[in-house]
């Protein structure tokens, strides 16, 4: 047997034994589990455990320690591991920095590869959409209807429409993410308005494609990496210097893949870009004296992918921006940094779990007495809005960017 034949033989055996060797960038994650001291602090803080109990969702620790079994039988976690919303609370509270959210992705990737029958059906539907369109949501059948929906939204919000700009050599690529591209179009448009107002030299992407986060979250590692490679090609072809996005999930995913795949391009969430690159002085000048709006009391929701997967400083930026807006009073909700349940693709197959997780947020939001809740993430916004509406609350919901765009003086 030649060496090559031997290699092929072993590879075949691995498949038969349902083993996928860890990739280089996964090794560090696997090693982090070795530090677990089994204390269980993560279980005390997990929002899914809080919402549905340890009997239904055994908690972060039980998923992490699965890796210490030899050989790990990932499929035995299949009835639990898809209930994780990926909020990252466990990693943050862990005294040993065990990277449990990434362990969840890693386990889901093994199940997806070797036991796709155990992957919830709802996720297979999403997978089909992604592989067909390179987008996390099915695109509009009729492009005219998409335009109509956009215009209705913009008119209702009083946000002007700005033509899409697509060009090479711009300073900034504005990447809206799938949700703002297909569903929450007002967020995409609002960001364009804000960037134009501050004279940012920006471009959009020619043909929008997904950052790969949803694929990674369902365990479809192959598609996820394919999508990130596709996006890297587009970004390089545009020759831009910075990427700005309005989606929390895209922010953390792009930050991750740009580092992993050597993009050498800094990634910003819009709130970071506004504070760091535009500057609070300019923002205050623009928003500090608008008087056509009545005073409003707002509260905020901190998206997990911003605060726990990127940096908690991002929400400090968001608050700084809000403080600069005339007539805005900010009240902090007790559950501002608690997961809304919208993450981890949980809502696609276990909506009851996602909606149980958001209950804590709803109670806290109503308690603030705020008129409006703002979140710099279209996914959180949608999840909170749907559940507030269902509960009969009068609190209104806006994506933060929409709120800002509405209040910018017309140029």
């Amino acid at each position: 047997m030649t060496e090559e034949e031997a290699f092929e033989f072993v590879k075949h055996t691995l498949k038969e034994e349902r083993i996928t060797p860890y990739r280089k960038d996964e090794i560090e994650i696997v090693h982090s589990v070795e530090d677990c001291i089994n204390c269980g602090l993560c279980i005390n803080h997990c929002p899914v455990v809080a919402a549905i109990g340890v009997d239904r969702f055994t908690g972060p620790r039980s998923i992490a320690v699965e890796l210490s079994r030899s050989p790990p039988e990932f499929w035995s976690t299949a009835d639990k591991v898809y209930l994780c919303t990926g909020c990252g609370t466990c990693r943050e509270v862990c005294p040993k920095n065990v990277n449990i959210p990434e362990v969840v992705n890693l386990v889901r990737a093994r199940i997806f590869k070797h036991r796709p029958d155990l992957v919830p059906k709802g996720l297979h539907v999403v997978r089909e959409i992604i592989t067909k369109y390179n987008l996390a949501f099915e695109p509009w059948e009729d492009p005219e209807e998409k335009v109509e929906s956009r215009d209705v939204r913009l008119e209702r919000l009083g946000i002007p429409y700005i033509e899409d700009i697509i060009k090479t050599g711009a300073e900034v690529l504005f990447y809206p993410g799938c949700q703002a591209e297909e569903l929450a179009q007002e967020v995409r448009e609002a960001a364009k308005v804000v960037l134009s107002y501050f004279d940012v030299d920006f471009t959009l992407i020619d043909e929008m494609s997904c950052c790969g986060l949803p694929s990674e979250l369902m365990g479809d590692d192959e598609t996820s990496r394919k999508l990130s490679a596709l996006l890297k090609g587009k970004v390089e072809a545009l020759g831009i210097k910075k990427v700005v996005t309005t989606c929390a999930g895209c922010t953390s995913m792009l930050s991750k893949i740009s580092q992993r795949d050597n993009w050498d391009i800094p990634i910003y969430h819009m709130v970071e870009y506004l504070v760091e690159e535009v500057g609070l002085v300019q923002i205050s000048e623009a928003l500090g004296s608008t008087s056509e709006f009545s005073d409003v009391t707002v509260t905020v929701h901190d998206p997990c992918h911003l605060i726990r997967h990127t940096s908690r400083r991002t929400m400090e930026d968001a608050i700084e921006i809000l403080k600069a807006i005339n007539g805005v009073k900010i009240v902090i909700s007790e559950a501002e940094d608690s997961c809304c349940g919208g993450g981890g693709l949980v809502a696609y197959h276990s909506k009851d779990v996602a909606n149980a997780v958001v209950q804590e947020n709803l109670v806290a939001i109503n308690k603030t007495g705020a008129d409006r809740i703002l979140a710099p993430c279209p996914l959180c916004t949608a999840q909170i809005e749907a559940n507030l509406f269902r509960s009969g609350s009068s609190v209104e919901v806006d994506d933060l960017m929409v709120f800002i765009a509405k209040r910018l003086p017309k140029k």
């Binding site: 001291i37 204390c39 269980g40 602090l41 279980i43 005390n44 803080h45 455990v49 809080a50 549905i52 109990g53 340890v54 009997d55 239904r56 990252g88 990693r91 943050e92 509270v93 862990c94 005294p95 920095n97 953390s252 930050s255 991750k256 580092q259 970071e272 504070v275 760091e276 605060i307 726990r308 997967h309 990127t310 940096s311 908690r312 400083r313 991002t314």
Partner: protein, 465 residues
């Protein structure tokens, strides 16, 4: 992104939050940075001042007349200050004249206790106890331990007072973290040995199902469950049958009476059943630890401090004997902080302030020199050489007394006894020369060194401006 606070505190457990609050209450801009939770959140929530000397009961060989555990924290402080001058409590006393140092330290500890009790009054971690005595609460294992301050839901002052008292240990079906029967047995055994009251002790199990099933229940679930309005009614009626049957005067439950509502729940059960109810001390990570951290964070924020979670200090620049900046890392971002003063309170091995492997012990941010319990450099020390063969040895493990050596202002010093930087202070369990697990002094030392380091930092900022 950069910031320039007056005081940067690295670590947000008891020591860090206290130091940060002192700074904020003095009108300074205070930033407390921590990775997630602290070892305080992880603790039993009992605030021990001093229960034993660092050697534990072994000290009795040399001083047979000494009473151990110490009857009062004041006795303990006197013994520590006479015998162990480099204990962190001793360092506090270096500020006073030689013959006044003991009284100085007792006054300092007394002041810090009053300060903390005042801040936590009315919170979910409101405290009882004072410096005049050590109290001996019961643990979930049925043993007792000396402590000074305890959350008010965890203490009954009348339990040991009357021979007719009847105590019931009440557990929950399907709650694997507490077994009422074995706790009862252990406690009864020690009561019969010491002759202390109560002698009539029973146990019972009640069924509470936060998610509809009476099995596989965790403490945190029960605590959250009892926070919901009206959910304690069921517990009250379930306990009633057992209380009536045994004629109980006291009921001990695991520490799960609530996160925010524990005190109200305790009051309600007591009122309806006419008995005293209290929570036991449990193993980490406990609900009272959770409550304590939560309440402390609120104290700090109320004082005007900024809490930055999810960031870990990675490195620092020192120039002209001053720390210029600290670089901290979040999952996907980096931040440079250029503070006027820094208080290093990251904890020890659990908190991450010290790291140890077979090549030695290291301080993780500034690469300061840690020392062993005998004040030698610990940089090349094998940690296993400083542990006992038995994990639960009555002599403890000297490894836990390793840490940073400091000057009288709590500034870490190098091998020549010179401070590393003029604006760098430290507090809490990263300090050397005390063995918190042996001494039962963990949160007490954290409180007092945080208090002292915070004041020193305030003084330095004021003098510089």
């Amino acid at each position: 992104m950069n910031t320039t606070p007056d005081v940067l505190v690295i670590g947000g457990g008891m020591a860090g939050i206290v130091a940060g609050t002192i700074a904020a209450e003095n009108g300074l801009e205070a930033l407390v940075m921590r990775t997630g939770q602290s070892a305080t959140a992880y603790s039993s929530g009992a605030i021990d001042i001093i229960g034993y000397p660092p050697e534990g009961l072994a000290l009795k060989e040399y001083f047979p007349e000494i009473e151990l555990p110490f009857k009062t924290p004041i006795d303990g402080l006197r013994a520590i200050l006479s015998l162990y001058p480099f204990h962190p409590y001793g360092i506090i006393g270096l500020k006073a004249e030689d013959n006044e140092s003991i009284e100085y330290v007792i006054a300092h500890v007394s002041e810090s206790i009053s300060w903390l009790k005042e801040r936590l009054a009315g919170s979910c971690a409101a405290l009882v106890g004072d410096l005049d005595r050590n109290i001996f609460p019961i643990t979930a294992l049925g043993t007792t331990k000396p402590t000074c301050l305890l959350q008010e839901t965890m203490w009954s002052d009348t339990l040991n007072a009357h021979p007719d008292n009847v105590l019931i240990f009440a557990g929950f079906s399907g709650h694997s973290e507490f077994d009422a029967q074995s706790a009862m047995r252990a406690y009864l055994e020690s009561q019969l040995r010491t002759g202390e009251f109560p002698h009539k002790i029973g146990h019972c199990e009640v069924e509470i199902a936060p998610f509809g099933k009476p099995y596989n229940i965790s403490s945190i679930e029960l605590a959250r469950h009892f926070d919901h309005e009206g959910s304690v009614d069921h517990l009250t009626s379930a306990l009633k049958a057992h209380v009536d049957k045994l004629g109980a005067t006291h009921v001990a439950v695991p520490p799960v009476l609530g996160i925010e509502q524990a005190s109200q729940n305790q009051a309600q059960i007591q009122k309806e059943l006419g008995v005293e109810v209290f929570e036991l001390i449990s193993l980490p990570p406990s609900v009272p630890g959770f409550r304590l951290q939560r309440a402390m964070d609120r104290v700090f924020k109320k004082a005007g401090g900024t809490l930055l979670i999810g960031h870990q200090a990675k490195s620092a620049t020192i120039k002209n004997d001053m720390v210029e900046s600290v670089v901290a890392q979040s999952p996907r971002r980096e931040v440079t902080i250029s503070p006027k003063t820094i208080i290093l309170a990251p904890g020890k091995f659990i908190g991450g302030g010290l790291e140890a492997d077979e090549t030695g012990i290291r301080e993780t941010v500034f690469n300061l020199m840690p020392v062993t319990s005998s004040l030698y450099s610990a940089e090349d020390v094998r940690p296993t050489n400083h542990t006992n063969v038995y994990s639960l040895s009555p002599d403890g493990h000297a490894l836990f007394a390793a840490g940073l050596a400091v000057d009288m202002d709590f500034r870490p010093i190098d091998a020549d006894g010179i401070e590393h930087a003029r604006n760098l202070y430290c507090a809490g369990s990263i300090l050397a020369k005390y063995n918190y697990s042996m001494e039962k002094s963990g949160l007490g030392v954290a409180l007092n060194t945080g208090f002292a380091a915070g004041r020193n930092a305030v003084k330095m900022v004021r003098e510089a401006s």
